[in-house]
């Protein structure tokens, strides 16, 4: 396809600059995002054996609820019954309380309740391991340690740059699309090879990247968009009376968990309920919301969709977010979320998203390599032997930031087992950023070439720390979900191969490269 050469040239420059500004942030978002595909298995792997007694059978749930509400009346406004339990959902019943001074995101505490074998009520704040949540936050905030309100607009700006990168990359590729599409020329021309790899990866995952960019813009700015719409078009939420359902009926009791599941099975046989949320609406009327999944459909939340039920009769009253029971508009909006979360079609789609996420991270990494390689060529033409400061700094960051992110996530996941019950998201965050900053700092001090091989070896060790802690803590923490350890071993093995290749190149590769370990030699050869 023909595109005017000035347009191609302009978009090539734009692609380079938006890529270089957003590439490292996108690497972190994609690597962490790929791991969030397996948030629940990771929670199962990382969560220490429960302190609570095993969950009561479903038939005895009402007894547990009554005991909790007698001892903790504040739970009555908002409690959950978990139909599926496991390490990631350790209790049959949970409730939430607001933290003093909270009100924003994540500002509440969750309490877990069980009945001991002798019938005593057990209550604890010890839930599933928070490490998966940290990885999710790193993903959402492109690795920035700022409060949510600060990090999200920055993420949104990165997502806008990312969209520009996608559009400009496509325009640049169009003229040579047919010629370059299936060609990966591996050979002496390193830049050609990386360009081919970058093009193939980018083009074949184009729909995935468009989805991620456009949904991320909405995730970042939805509050601002809704506010702007409200300011421009009016349309305040309807008054309370208009949304009111049936009046509270003091003489009727709210349907218990057994009743809810039975009524749900009648009305929506394909829907697998996971959690029942009992709450109180703004007008004092009890509410029942059931979260669950149906593998044939996409879900509004990362892992669950939900339905509203009449609290007394169990009739389905709100199915806007219930998989398989949505109208066209709801299903369309849900599809945007589902396409981002990869939560349709079960395990095969999750694995595909995992691989596309890793490939995406690699795409941004190859983009950085290309920027460095193309700078290098220009400088050689201009006769300069020393690489410029900007090329050196970018090479350093291209080594330090991705490896720091990969190693930091591995070490903080491994730390979940020794931390055990004392783990908090803050503690895991400290471990991650300590490793991340140490790696980036090391790269700055040592330079790209030496740090490249040293940090690859260190990252391989970090990956090995995951199966190693599993072995070391076997007594306290019986191993589950061994695939986490297995994938870490594969990661370590891949990093060791890269370590070997990098060490060879530093010695035997072109001396004027930023990756060469022989700067003096280069100077004498050129001089």
């Amino acid at each position: 396809m023909k595109v005017r050469t000035d347009i191609v040239k302009m978009y090539k420059e734009i692609h380079g600059w938006v890529g270089i500004v957003s590439g490292l942030a996108l690497f972190i978002a994609f690597y962490a995002g790929a791991i969030t595909m397996f948030e629940e298995p990771l929670q199962r792997w990382a969560t220490p054996p429960a302190q609570l007694a095993p969950p009561v059978p479903l038939e005895r749930t009402q007894e547990l609820i009554d005991r909790v509400l007698a001892a903790h009346p504040e739970a009555a406004d908002d409690y959950q019954v978990h139909l599926q339990t496991g390490p990631e959902r350790p209790a049959r019943m949970t409730w939430e309380t607001d933290l003093p001074g909270g009100g924003g995101h994540h500002e509440h505490e969750i309490w877990y309740a069980a009945l001991s074998p002798d019938g005593a009520l057990q209550v604890t704040r010890q839930g599933p391991s928070p490490v998966a949540e940290l990885v999710d936050v790193l993903h959402q905030q492109v690795g920035l340690p700022f409060p949510h309100e600060v990090a999200m607009p920055i993420m949104g700006a990165v997502a806008l740059l990312y969209t520009i990168a996608i559009v400009s990359g496509l325009i640049v590729l169009l003229p040579s699309l047919v010629k370059d599409l299936f060609a990966v020329r591996i050979g002496r021309n390193v830049k050609r090879m990386w360009l081919d790899v970058h093009n193939v990866l980018g083009l074949f995952s184009l729909p995935f990247h468009l989805i991620m960019a456009l949904t991320a813009i909405i995730f970042a700015f939805h509050d601002q968009f809704y506010d702007a719409q409200g300011a421009a078009f009016g349309g305040a939420p309807p008054p309370e009376a208009a949304v009111a359902g049936p009046a509270p009926e003091a003489d009727r009791s709210v349907l218990g968990p057994m009743g809810v599941t039975a009524r749900l099975a009648e009305q929506a046989p394909g829907f697998q309920p996971v959690e029942i949320g009992y709450g109180v609406g703004r007008n004092g009327i009890p509410t029942v919301r059931v979260s669950g999944r149906d593998e044939r459909y996409g879900l509004r939340g990362p892992t669950l969709g939900f339905a509203e039920l009449d609290p007394y009769t169990g009739d389905l009253t709100g199915t806007d977010y219930m998989p398989g029971h949505q109208d066209g508009w709801s299903a369309t909006v849900t599809s945007f979320f589902a396409l981002h979360f990869g939560n349709f079609g079960g395990a095969p789609v999750r694995w595909s998203y995992f691989l596309l996420g890793i490939a995406g991270a690699f795409l941004f990494y190859t983009g950085n390599l290309l920027w460095i390689e193309s700078r290098r060529r220009r400088e050689r033409k201009a006769g300069a032997v020393q690489q410029t400061r900007s090329t050196k700094v970018l090479a350093v960051l291209t080594v330090g930031v991705p490896l720091g992110c990969v190693a930091g996530i591995s070490v903080t996941i491994a730390a979940a087992k020794p931390f055990g019950a004392s783990a908090t998201e803050g503690l895991h965050s400290v471990v991650y950023y300590a490793v991340f900053l140490a790696f980036t700092g090391w790269a700055l001090v040592r330079g790209a070439s030496r740090a490249g091989s040293e940090l690859l070896a260190a990252t391989a060790l970090a990956a090995l720390s995951v199966p190693a802690t599993t072995l070391l803590t076997m007594g306290l923490h019986p191993p589950v979900v061994p695939i986490v350890d297995f994938l870490s071993l594969i990661l370590a093995f891949a990093l060791l191969i890269m370590f070997r290749r990098t060490a060879l190149r530093a010695r035997g590769g072109p001396a004027d490269s930023v990756w060469a370990n022989t700067p003096q030699l280069a100077a004498t050869q050129q001089g």
């Binding site: 005017r4 000035d6 347009i7 040239k9 302009m10 978009y11 420059e13 734009i14 600059w17 997502a159 806008l160 969209t163 520009i164 996608i166 559009v167 400009s168 960019a213 456009l214 949904t215 813009i217 909405i218 700015f221 939805h222 968009f225 809704y226 702007a228 719409q229 409200g230 300011a231 421009a232 078009f233 009016g234 349309g235 305040a236 939420p237 309807p238 806007d320 949505q326 109208d327 508009w329 709801s330 369309t332 909006v333 945007f336």
Partner: protein, 96 residues
């Protein structure tokens, strides 16, 4: 015709960042008016109208570099805004 270059990127991108946003808002408003929606947050067609804003804004920004200059980007995007917002005002879609 003068060949395009990335030199005037700031003029073009800032025009698209500001006027592309108001353009996206106008498009979502037209959709909302056409659907006869009361609010956006509490209905799924309303949420869809919010979702429209992202792609309109992002693609305006991505393609704004095709304007001949930053000044032209401001002028053309302002005109596009004027047309859409006038239309929206005429059919009564703007809060008064």
């Amino acid at each position: 015709m003068k060949p395009l270059s990335s030199k005037d990127w700031f003029g073009k991108a800032s025009a698209a960042l500001v006027l592309g946003f108001t353009l996206a808002l106008a498009v979502s408003g037209l959709f909302k008016a056409a659907m006869g929606l009361k609010d956006t947050y509490f209905s799924t067609p309303g949420q869809f109208s919010m979702w429209i804003m992202g792609p309109v804004w992002a693609f305006t920004l991505s393609l704004s570099f095709l304007f001949a200059s930053g000044r032209r980007a401001w002028v053309w995007l302002a005109l596009a805004n004027l047309v859409l917002w006038s239309l929206l005002w005429l059919i009564g879609g703007v809060a008064r």
